[in-house]
């Protein structure tokens, strides 16, 4: 594993609203995510995992503290810089896939490769998730697991530095879920991307290099896993 930190946060806070009704989603998060690791974030609903990921992914702004991406402070970026940051470095996978229904699988991937600097071939990206044969199908013709794998292919096709996944298996059954997790592990191992996965399924932690447990807007526990299992071995 590389020693460089892909992300480092210092006293990161996020407050929604103000006054007595204010919600403190993050109450000072300090953590380091080394480059090339597969990190799993666990925690109850409202513990702040999604907020943290959204800030690190440039989708949301912090209220205080710093979040460094290879020594560049994300919290100081302008809107335009954040857009470029997402475009060049970050891939996202969501619980509900967020595919464009009007584009075929391959075209959904091309959506990203067209604007990326050094993208994979879209068919190759679909091959990584085992869907190269179904590339001409529209989302309506794909199962949930297939749609999620297209979303992953779309996210990795630009060869992102970091891949953020928010409940990627949340809408899937266990068999399909395992296939999707396998695809994510592949991305991490073969493309060397840093992968951060938010999940409710604690079992997923077994495949992580690092497990971060959050509660109440702060990191409660961080463990390093020296022998991560492969996705197929995970017990659900």
């Amino acid at each position: 594993m590389s020693e460089r930190a892909a992300f480092e946060t210092r006293g990161l806070t996020k407050v929604y609203g103000e006054g007595p009704t204010a919600v403190h989603a993050l109450r000072g998060v300090d953590l380091v995510i080394p480059e090339g690791e597969l990190v799993v974030l666990l925690g109850a609903s409202g513990s702040g995992k999604s907020t943290l990921l959204n800030i690190l992914g440039g989708l949301d702004r912090a209220s205080g503290g710093a979040a460094l991406f290879f020594d560049k402070d994300i919290t100081a970026m302008t809107d335009r810089q954040l857009t470029l940051y997402r475009r060049e470095h970050i891939g996202f996978v969501f619980q509900f896939y967020n595919l464009m229904p009007s584009l075929s699988a391959e075209e959904n991937v091309e959506l990203v490769t067209e604007i990326a600097e050094n993208p994979l071939d879209p068919v190759e990206a679909l091959g990584l998730v085992g869907l190269d044969k179904r590339r001409d199908h529209f989302p309506a013709e794909l199962s949930g697991g297939e749609q999620q794998r297209v979303a992953i292919a779309r996210a990795i096709a630009k060869q992102p530095t970091v891949l953020f996944c928010d409940e990627p298996t949340g809408a899937l059954d266990s068999v399909t879920g395992r296939t999707v997790l396998g695809a994510l592990q592949n991305v991490n191992r073969e493309l060397g991307a840093t992968v951060a996965i938010i999940t409710h399924a604690a079992a997923t932690a077994a495949m992580a290099d690092r497990v971060i447990i959050m509660s109440d807007g702060a990191v409660r526990e961080m463990t390093v896993n020296d022998a991560p299992q492969s996705a197929e071995e995970i017990e659900w």
Partner: protein, 788 residues
């Protein structure tokens, strides 16, 4: 206790306030239009009627050369006659300081020691006439205002060849002179025609009418048959040179105002329904798409055990709230603007009071149309949601299936990037939705286009009338028909370039039971200064063997070229002639009847007579010419084309035509409303996709392209369709604006089309910018967290 559903209702309305207001605004505009026009028309009708009644306007008028006053008693004995007044009227020429051309006036007598039984006047300013002073006059207020004359000022006028000095003691208005035009002229103009009221004795002296009258006014008993009374009057007055009694409906001022009101009535029955229809259509689209977006919540309510009926009622209330707010605002502003507009017309027609009245039926129709069209949109959308089980409805809808859609984007794969493909596929997948949006925008554009078409029709009408049909500079009319040798005198004047004679003969045209009171214009065979045209630009040869009728008369009398028509001449020996209609001419201004002047004189057995001449003159010498004309005893008046044009323009812009500006504004609001709502709804439906694009690193502009590209294509498709719809509407709207006095050519030219297209594009760009702002402000996290 407010039920939870009603609380939801209130909060939903608040949450969607912008959209709800935009919809309410469109409803309001449609309703406003209906209520405003209704209020205006009813008020004018009511006010006119009340004005006529309060000032006892006569039901019939009987002009005569000179009849003894004792004859009035015999007139009073005619069956059906309730009251009679005899008076003296006569022409006069007024000198206005600093103005070379003399102004024509009509002098009217008022009884000295009592109120007039008929045709009373309203004294607006100053004092009544003093019976002992023969130099006192009341002057028509409109004319006084046009020339800055006040009570106390002096006025010099020529009556019956003698110049006299008068003192203005008061300014008056009269229902008889709401519209004033000099005899033989068409276009009313405050500044070019005056009415003078003076004591009976003084006026009788001026016109040698002592103990006589030359006009009888008749008030009828309720239900009395007018034709029988008119016939009896004609019989009585014939030995004294009766010129033919006529009813109020043929009285000039009344005819104009009635025409203008009936023009507004047509506008009222044509224009607001078109606006309401477009508004209703838009409402239907917007509401149905808004309800579709509520799918998740509807599923949830059904899962809780609410029945379809309860859910339906909930959304019906939602629609009703928006529709009622819009309708209420429309009614309120409709009343206000109707009142303002009626007030404006009151000033314009110079009526001393206004009765404002809106028919409650107009409110009912307006509210019902808004509620029904809004509900229809809601019902159709709800039906499709009700068809789903709650579980399916609650789940986010499956991705729409694009695999079977007509795929033009796939065919163009090599040339298109993914965002362009998304735009095309979406249009291809739901052509119905796109089509409805196209129709909506095209309807709005058609409305705007037809209003622009009517606008340019107005100016075209002006242009044709004053540059193509009438090419003279001035028209001279004589007091009575003279020998055509008089024209040599005109032609010899320094600065007169061309002289073209004409003969004007008052007639009644009859075809069966249909009749028209007007005048025949005798023109030379190939007139150069005043022409009859067909197809707007082709001059018609004036034939000797029959009459040429204006289109409006063809319709009014129901005759075609080739038919015979009866011409009842109301001048001189008053022969009754029969002649064929040989051609139909365009009629933009007035309702002219043409005949070759030689043939006309021959038919009247009055060879070589002229009523006047049209002149083309050297403009540098105009003042000198007018000065000379004023001093010719035979000249009754001179009218300048420039003045007539200004006057007509004023009528078109300030009279019945004035509402076109308001309507054009409303059309613009509706067009913008449709375009903006289309863009806004498309945004709401696609916020999720757009957020996804932004998350992937698409810039704001790139994400907005996916949305606005679709709007752009829809607008581009709508443009030609809008032109087609505009063509269809412009005829109906132009007919609404046309009156007996002027008709508006109904056509859409390239410039109007371009103007309307430009307006729609501007609306599209403005809407695009507004929606782009929403795209820029997309909350990425929130948009992605919740599906739909």
């Amino acid at each position: 206790m407010v039920s939870p559903l009603d609380k939801k209702l209130g909060r939903d309305l608040w949450r969607m306030k912008t959209q709800a207001l935009a919809i309410a605004m469109v409803i309001a505009v449609g309703v406003l239009m209906l209520v405003m026009m209704d209020g205006l028309v009813n008020s004018l009708e009511e006010t006119k009627t009340a004005y006529y009644e309060r000032y006892r306007l006569a039901d019939a008028f009987a002009p005569v050369k000179r009849a003894p006053r004792r004859l009035l008693e015999e007139i009073a004995d005619i069956d059906g006659v309730a009251s009679v007044e005899g008076r003296v009227v006569g022409g006069a020429l007024i000198d206005i300081e600093g103005q070379a051309a003399p102004v024509r006036a009509q002098a009217v007598s008022l009884p000295e020691f009592r109120e007039p039984r008929l045709n009373d006047v309203f004294l607006a300013r100053g004092a009544k006439l003093d019976a002992r002073r023969h130099d006192e006059i009341l002057l028509l207020e409109g004319f006084a205002d046009a020339h800055g004359l006040e009570p106390g000022d002096r006025l010099s006028a020529t009556m019956n060849g003698a110049r006299r000095e008068f003192r203005i003691v008061g300014l008056a208005q009269s229902p008889e002179f709401l519209y004033t035009t000099a005899p033989g002229e068409l276009v009313p103009d405050d500044s070019r025609f005056a009415v003078i009221w003076m004591g009976e004795e003084a006026l009788a002296a001026a016109f040698d009418m002592d103990g006589a009258f030359n006009e009888a006014l008749i008030g009828l008993e309720r239900g009395a048959p007018l034709p029988a009374v008119l016939a009896a009057l004609d019989r009585l007055l014939d030995p004294y040179g009766g010129a033919g009694a006529y009813g109020l409906e043929d009285q000039l001022s009344n005819r104009f105002i009635t025409e203008e009101i009936s023009g507004l009535v047509v506008s009222r029955s044509v224009v607001p329904p078109i606006f309401m229809a477009v508004a209703a259509f838009l409402l239907y689209i917007v509401i149905s798409r808004m309800i579709s977006a509520e799918r998740l919540q509807i599923g949830l309510l059904k899962a809780f055990g609410y029945t379809n009926m309860e859910v339906g009622v909930h959304y019906f209330k939602f629609v009703l709230a928006i529709a009622l707010v819009g309708a209420a605002a429309g009614c309120l502003f409709g009343i206000l603007s109707g009142q303002a507009l009626a007030g404006y017309y009151q000033l314009y027609y110079k009526i001393p009071f206004l009765i404002f009245l809106v028919d409650p039926g107009a409110f009912l129709i307006a509210v019902a149309v808004s509620v029904v069209s809004a509900s229809a949109g809601g019902v159709i959308a709800l039906q499709s949601v009700f068809a789903l089980t709650p579980a399916v409805a609650m789940r986010p809808p499956a991705p729409p299936d694009y695999s079977r859609a007509f795929d033009i984007a796939g065919a163009l794969k090599t040339w298109l990037d993914q965002p362009s493909r998304m735009v095309l596929r979406r249009l291809g997948r739901q052509p119905g939705k796109a089509f409805v949006a196209v129709i909506g925008i095209a309807a709005g554009m058609g409305l705007s286009l037809s209003m622009i078409g009517v606008m340019s029709g107005f100016s075209r009408s002006m242009d044709l009338t004053f540059t193509v049909i009438d090419r003279s500079d001035a028209t001279v009319s004589f007091i009575e028909p003279l020998s055509d040798k008089t024209l040599y005198e005109l032609a010899r004047m320094d600065g007169v370039i061309e002289v073209e004679r004409f003969r004007e003969v008052p007639v009644i045209l009859r075809n069966g039971t249909k009749s028209h009171r007007g005048g025949i214009s005798g023109l030379i065979a190939e007139p150069r200064l005043s022409r009859a045209m067909v197809n707007e630009t082709d001059p018609i040869h004036i034939r000797k063997d029959g009459v040429i009728l204006a289109q409006t008369l063809r319709d009014k009398l129901d005759v075609e070229a080739g038919d015979m028509i009866t011409i009842d001449v109301r001048e001189g020996r008053r022969p009754i002639l029969t002649a064929p209609v040989v051609a139909i001419a365009d009629s933009l201004l007035g309702a002219p009847i043409y005949m070759e002047i030689g043939a006309l004189n021959e038919a009247l057995s009055e060879p070589h007579r002229v009523s006047g001449a049209r002149l083309r003159i050297d403009s540098d010498k105009a003042d000198m010419i007018y000065e000379k004309l004023k001093n010719m005893p035979a000249v009754a008046g001179v009218s300048l084309k420039g003045d007539a044009r200004d006057a007509l323009e004023k009528i078109m812009n300030e009279g019945a035509g004035a509402t076109r500006f308001i309507m054009a504004g409303m059309a613009a609001v509706i067009t913008f409303g449709i375009v903006f709502n289309s863009a806004r709804i498309a945004f709401a439906e696609r916020a999720h996709d757009l957020a996804s694009l932004r998350v992937m690193g698409f810039t704001k502009g790139e994400a907005a392209f996916v949305l606005l590209g679709e709007l752009g294509i829809i607008v581009l498709i709508a443009l030609p369709l809008g032109i087609v719809i505009g063509h269809g509407l412009v005829g109906a709207i132009a007919a609404g604006f046309s009156t007996d006095l002027y008709s508006i050519p109904a056509e859409v030219d390239a410039a109007s089309g371009g103007g309307a297209a430009l307006a729609v594009l501007i609306a599209a760009v403005a809407s695009g910018l507004l929606v782009k702002r929403d795209v820029d402000r997309l909350d990425l996290v929130a948009a992605l967290k919740s599906r739909e």
